[in-house]
Subunit: 192 residues, 6 copies
Amino acid sequence: MDHDKLLDLLLETATLKRMPRTGWAMRGVPHVESVAEHSFGTALVALALAEAAAVEEQAGPFDMEQVLIMALLHDLAEARLTDLPVSAVRLVPPEVKSQAEAVAISDLLAPLPGAGQLIALWQAFEDGSTPEGRLVRDADKLEMMVQCLRYEQAGCRGLDEFWQAIDGHRWHYDLSAGLYRRLQAIRPRADA
Amino acid sequence: MDHDKLLDLLLETATLKRMPRTGWAMRGVPHVESVAEHSFGTALVALALAEAAAVEEQAGPFDMEQVLIMALLHDLAEARLTDLPVSAVRLVPPEVKSQAEAVAISDLLAPLPGAGQLIALWQAFEDGSTPEGRLVRDADKLEMMVQCLRYEQAGCRGLDEFWQAIDGHRWHYDLSAGLYRRLQAIRPRADA
Amino acid sequence: MDHDKLLDLLLETATLKRMPRTGWAMRGVPHVESVAEHSFGTALVALALAEAAAVEEQAGPFDMEQVLIMALLHDLAEARLTDLPVSAVRLVPPEVKSQAEAVAISDLLAPLPGAGQLIALWQAFEDGSTPEGRLVRDADKLEMMVQCLRYEQAGCRGLDEFWQAIDGHRWHYDLSAGLYRRLQAIRPRADA
Amino acid sequence: MDHDKLLDLLLETATLKRMPRTGWAMRGVPHVESVAEHSFGTALVALALAEAAAVEEQAGPFDMEQVLIMALLHDLAEARLTDLPVSAVRLVPPEVKSQAEAVAISDLLAPLPGAGQLIALWQAFEDGSTPEGRLVRDADKLEMMVQCLRYEQAGCRGLDEFWQAIDGHRWHYDLSAGLYRRLQAIRPRADA
Amino acid sequence: MDHDKLLDLLLETATLKRMPRTGWAMRGVPHVESVAEHSFGTALVALALAEAAAVEEQAGPFDMEQVLIMALLHDLAEARLTDLPVSAVRLVPPEVKSQAEAVAISDLLAPLPGAGQLIALWQAFEDGSTPEGRLVRDADKLEMMVQCLRYEQAGCRGLDEFWQAIDGHRWHYDLSAGLYRRLQAIRPRADA
Amino acid sequence: MDHDKLLDLLLETATLKRMPRTGWAMRGVPHVESVAEHSFGTALVALALAEAAAVEEQAGPFDMEQVLIMALLHDLAEARLTDLPVSAVRLVPPEVKSQAEAVAISDLLAPLPGAGQLIALWQAFEDGSTPEGRLVRDADKLEMMVQCLRYEQAGCRGLDEFWQAIDGHRWHYDLSAGLYRRLQAIRPRADA
């Protein structure tokens, strides 16, 4: 194993601390979270969902190791690609974006001995092809709405599009859907 | 002409004030300029180049109206696409990026009566197919290096890649090449 | 032409990227735009107004080159003077401010071959003495209110003074007045 | 399980995105990372270390699930306690700090079904009482120095104390010590 | 007197310009004031209270020198301890916090010839044991609420806890209580 | 005494927390201190100078109450005028600036019973007409250079002009001059 390449990976992924989540910036949110912050949040939400699902849903139990790896890696490609907002995604063919992400993630993770397995986990997240992948897909969306609510509780406005987009989203697990409904319920009144 | 669509254009392009120039952010620059700031700078640099070229180069005179419109619009598509850094551009086929930008710019400018001509000017910048387009291409690069020098004069480090990338750049006009060499000459010493 | 002085101009005007529009800062706006961002926005608004006026108003057509130069240069003196808010302007005799701006702009633009003509255009903007100057004066105000609305849409409050000040403003063109009324109409409700 | 309390946990831990790592702020670092960003980085470093150790060290294999949970939770108490810099830690008896953290972490994690096990993992990190706990302790320090190097590569100075403090640190694994030495080797020269 | 130690004091206390008031950050306030800014504000409020009390209350007159020194020094220990929010204070025994602050303040002020008297004034503020100490305690709270109102006037929300905490506060002087009630009266409506 | 006007004063002067010290911003300093932070620093430096002078210089003793009031109020007018950098001051006749400041300070302090005396103190600072006024003038400059050194220690460059300007400054007290020379001595090497 090449230690210099391992360090390159660690130094390059630190870039995610400076990558803004562009969707917030475009709506004028003043203090925009980074992709690293969102990824941390997603891992915590995924941990909580996996824990809760274990006692509540028929689904599960979930492989926690897989869940956490997926959450940590799900946006890693953005260290090179940056965070493309919805308005950009609409302009790029989906297969081009998928392909670009797959190349980025493979290249980034290459220095790790278990790169093959990690890439397979990332792909399972992308495709939602395993129970764990689907759980982390829910966690990714739920974390976004937790942050959205935090912004609104702090006075940010103009974020209705986020709620509307999620309203049309199909949650993979009832637990996620239920938590999202509670988030909606504690949202500051729309006319406030 | 639809005034509401005209206002939508003005409101949406204000987004460029919040779009960071991602190349700087990735290298840890603390106070990252926006695409709007870069576009303003490019227009000023283009104005100065066109003025100076008029008395110095065989090339020219340049149509100043075209020069300024190109400078103002050259990154307008980033209001939807965001500013893709080199590491992202490498992962996307060039024709996909060009196509996405062309769609964005056409859609954004549609509310304006002279949209067709403006889009044609933007295309001439993209292709470098007119003297004015080539001048603004130089202005775009020169402005980036003016800002790079400002960052370095203020203590930023780790920006060598920008200078190296430009060293391999082919300037369209001797005037631009000469100004760039002077920028290099006043750069803080590499080991400082 | 002295190339070093030309570069000095480009390096110094990059300062406008770090000059805050102080009126916003004084009311607690969290993410204050720079003078460079406002100038870029003004140039876009002026471009849109000139385009639209060409098909709508009796006034016009406008000399687009003059319009864009005025928009780009209208706040250039602030690279030295900074952006004085209303509360400061009230404390300084108007002729002192005009004189300071005129000296700054003349000194800044001196390295350019066409400095005389550029300064004359800036003066025409200051005095509103040409149709183009009056159009850019409208653009300057309209851009401010576009940004004000963006701030309010994002949750900022305490900006009523800006709307009140503009309500007493005399627009030079019906087109500008009409666009402003539409901005007012889409403003978030005052008690929200 | 109480879903409202689960949401409270998710909303409260989002606070870590706004908690600055105070050690950097005290030395004048301009863009201070958040505790959430550091925790994300620590999880990535821990993942890399566990992967690499599996093929290099006699130690291991490591339980990856435990490693990742520890990394994600190791600073969670700071959502209430904030990040205390060295100068503050010196002023507070260690047992008071430990006790405060233990209360905070227990209280925060209480809504989760597996709270008991999670708290035990956090304690094992605190005490360095398991191979996984010691690995994450190394990851915590190594991530800090990766970020420190990023700051220095970007031009930050005045961070010598961080390197000196770590020079006296006893790494638990040769792999971590080796990676740290490589970080030192690529550090910008001290007099630069 | 040791001039190098005197400079160390001046350099170290400049750290307070980079110390955020963490209570605001935890509620998502975008532009968080520093401890230095709060201390400046407290000194101004204390000056105003002392002036006003001199003509209004039976209490007083106050020793203005003592009042201003207390206001300037009241949070000086935070240069080492940082600003602990309510959630942290709850987790630390009060005598531990007091002791830590006393050690920090004594150590910081040691280079000054009159350190003993300054420390005694700081203690009188801590204990509220003199009329001046009680006045500055009121100023500290009143300044916090002035800033809170400024945040709310600018659109920040989610700060109700601050008002509720102060509602249970016992003001030492009627003047302070009266000014606080006026602050409440001009607060933007709770449902707005 | 009008309590509403007193509150207006407190609310308006909180604006100084958002007023940047423009000289730093113009040179690209990333994290620009506010006028409130500088004023706090000046009060601490003035306190230290007055304490130290009492045991070292023939001059003195100083009236500490006057010293602290002057330091707190010396830039208060900037709540309306903003902080004019050297490049702006050169463009405005000195008597216009003095007059504007005098009007602003008189108007701001008017709600206080002792306004007359406070304004007289501010004038004594402006004119350097008392020993206390001259001491605070030294503190104002010394604080600026303490902050300048902090910026340089953190990696900022391009601040030579500040040192050069102060080198030509005439210190009123040997103590200030001596402390400044020590600041110079610990400055990071110019070529570093």
